[in-house]
């Protein structure tokens, strides 16, 4: 249903953002 689709996409977007934030942190550690 539409509600499930929206929930799935929301979880996906959240996961991507968490991954990207940790990726940025990791990269900054290496650039120091």
């Amino acid at each position: 249903t539409l509600k499930d689709d929206v929930s799935i996409l929301l979880d996906k977007a959240r996961l991507e953002n968490e991954e990207s934030m940790s990726f940025i942190k990791t990269t900054k550690v290496m650039m120091k």
Binding site: L2, V6, L9, K12, T27, V29, M30
Partner: protein, 115 residues
């Protein structure tokens, strides 16, 4: 022939406005029979809201996809550049016999993750 086409066009226009009128009358009748009260919306409003949320979802999904793809591509570029830079620094180290301070645990973990 021209007259026939004009006639046909008029018929389509009339059909179109008749359909609009039927839709309007139906919605008016439903709104009259189901006056909206606190928290209770009439079926017509709900039908409109339902198609609104469907198109809003499609809009957001269309916005999400390219960003996610672009993010993946940028991350790959960062990893490639980081690894190239690390390799070059190690080569420089060898060439110049320069002893750099060893990577900290945090840096080692980060390097592994980026690999």
């Amino acid at each position: 022939m021209e007259a026939e086409v004009d006639k046909l066009e008029l018929m389509f226009q009339k059909a179109d406005s008749d359909l609009d009128y039927i839709q309007y009358r139906l919605e008016y009748e439903i709104k009259t029979n189901h006056p909206e009260s606190a928290g209770e919306k009439n079926p017509v409003t709900l039908l409109k809201e339902m198609s609104a949320i469907k198109s809003r979802y499609q809009t957001l999904y269309a916005r999400f996809k390219p960003i996610a793809a672009e993010q993946k591509e940028t991350k790959n570029r960062i990893c490639a550049t980081m690894n190239k830079t690390m390799t070059m620094i190690q080569e420089l180290q060898k060439q110049t016999d320069l002893e750099l301070s060893p990577l900290t645990e945090e840096e080692k973990t980060a390097a592994e993750q980026l690999k």
